[in-house]
Amino acid sequence: MKRSTPRWLRVAAVALAVGSLVVACSGRSTTGGTGGDGQVTLTINFWGDFGLQELKTRYEAEHSNVRIALNSGEYNAQHEDLQKKLIAGSGAPDIAAIDEGFMVQFRSQADQFVNLLDRGAGKYESNYLPWKWKQSLSADGRTQIALGTDVGGLAMCYRTDLFAAAGLPTDRDQVSALWPTWDDFLTVGQRYVAQTNRKFLDNATNLFNPILGQQPVGFYDSEERLLMAGGPKVAFDYAVKAADLGLSANLTSFQADWDKGFTNGSFAVLTCPAWMLGHIQNTAPGTEGKWDIAAVPGGGGNWGGSFLTVPKQGKNIDEAYKFLEWLIQPEQQIEVFKTVGNLPSQPGLYTDPAIADFKNEFFNSAPVGQIFPKMAEGLTPQYLGRKNGPTRVAVENVINRVQNGTLKSDAAWAEAIKEAEKASR
């Protein structure tokens, strides 16, 4: 007995030590990829709502060997995560969504993505808005890393019931006529606040972004120089003015209080790119019929719009491209437009009665199939620099500090320049 006890103890001790090391070091995950029975799981990373829930079910029904894993995350986080995975060399999803604001950054790493031209995507070029096609095309025109899903377009969503209570017109044409310019818009805001003692806007940053989108040059010119004095200054001044006039409810976008604001009337207007409609419908189903859509002050402009890419490190490249190709077919694009409002980037579809005649009942039967395509077609999009994403976040933060009263508005512009320069490095 005395002999056996230390031996098993010794063996156990060594086994424990070795075993825990082996367990700790074998971090390789076996999920994803092709299973033994020919099952393929495609992972898609995106943010918000791309209208994929129902399409996924349909595609899976048609392709019994494919399962699709939808992974929706926070907007900035998804892009940063993709960047990290590209650097690390593994872990990227089979299909990764990229917003136009981050496109230049990823386009310059075109070698990390499957060249869709090699897969025959070139035949779709003529279907797309020319600028949308070019946004994801490499500088030499030889590599197309993405296919466009939606474009932003711009409009102004407003609450008819709150407008009526403030003695403002509620008909969408009359409302559009209230604000041909952004100055008029602020005047209407002041009238609303004076009448109701409530806030007019959700957040001044949601004034900054669309106005910046309307400027010929955004944060960066095509030589990647930060040009704060041009477009950003114009947009920033309006945003700060709105904050100073007390028009903003100061609710952070896509956070709980903002979402609650759609139902409880914390704000009456909201700049609406097409993709925003889906979010309003999802978060405030109880307000059906109370919203309507008017024109945006200052004419056209673009805010947002996304692309789908196939990173090279994905495990199921062939299946991923097949699914991607299926997604951009007219039938699917029209369905996405109808369910979540995302406007397709293929102008041929705008005359399709399914879109042209489509009225969104949630938004008081607004003719969204007429409003948004008009914006998207007559557009010269901005060049969005490599550091556009972080720069935008930095300037938005300065606006937020003005809104919550910790930064004086006359010192704000200097601060914005400082923060933008930091972010551009």
């Binding site: 005395k2 230390p6 900035n76 650097i87 609650k260 914390s266 937020n400």
Partner: protein, 330 residues
Amino acid sequence: MPTTRAAGEPALRRRGAAPDRSMTWRDRLHRFDVRYVPYLLIAPFFLLFLVFGLFPMVFNAVVALRHWRLDQPDLTGWAGTENFRRLFTDGDFGNALYNTFGIFLLSTIPQLLLALVVASMLNRRLRGQTWWRVSALLPYITPITASTLVFNVFFARDLGMANWALGLVGIGTENPIDWRADKLHSWIAIATMVNWKWVGYHALLFLAAMQSIPRDVYEASALDGAGPWRQLWRITVPMIRPVLIFSVVLSTIGGLQLFTEPMLFDLNAQAATGGSGGEWQTVAQLIYRVGWKDLNLGYAAAMSWALFLIILVVAALNTALTNRMSGGRR
């Protein structure tokens, strides 16, 4: 003489290094058991420590001395002390350090004082004693993420309970406090979360130490006319000094590494900015941001080494201070 000589011989031989031919297999095993098995038994911890403790620290020190930016892979080169020198002029680091110490002071001091009071109350005869003691530990068991999410709602600007409660006593009825707008309010909010979690834990540690204080010391002091307050400061505190110092060191380390609460207090936690102007960004949060958002690993590594050194110094200072305040020898 011959008798003593004969007795000395085996003793000499036993002391010798060479194995005794007369030693049985069983004796050898016994010797192995006594001499080496303890090392084998404690080896797993030290092996794990080498792999997951010491190696990362050394590797981190190497990284801190290099340029290592994930977004500029061509930059991997020797940086010398450049990353460390940059710390001294970096406004963000200064701000984060200031925030960390601010929140640290607002949390640690009330926390340990409160724990002391709670412990001395739990140390009395109480009805339902176990229930009280277990409840004190409940916040400690709650996951930080869960409790922070609840506190987030609690400290909401428009519909939060904190503002509602303050409104009852007439504070902020016109302009509700925006807990995320400035340093002081956000610090208070975060310190509240930290205190909520740790008061009970430290109280139970203190309580365990207090139980070993002989009752008759209190009785004697009561005879001399000492009240409960005086007993606490003159008898209890000096007599639980080792545990007190342990608690101070523990909360110094924890407080200066504060990460989860400030991270999740942010409305957009992913940004890791600690408020739109970095109002409550702690050093740990800044390290995360520099490393994983700006992708500058070299600089982040230098920051974490700096934090390590700062914690060492502060912990040593606090120990000395506590030692002195609770009447220890200098």
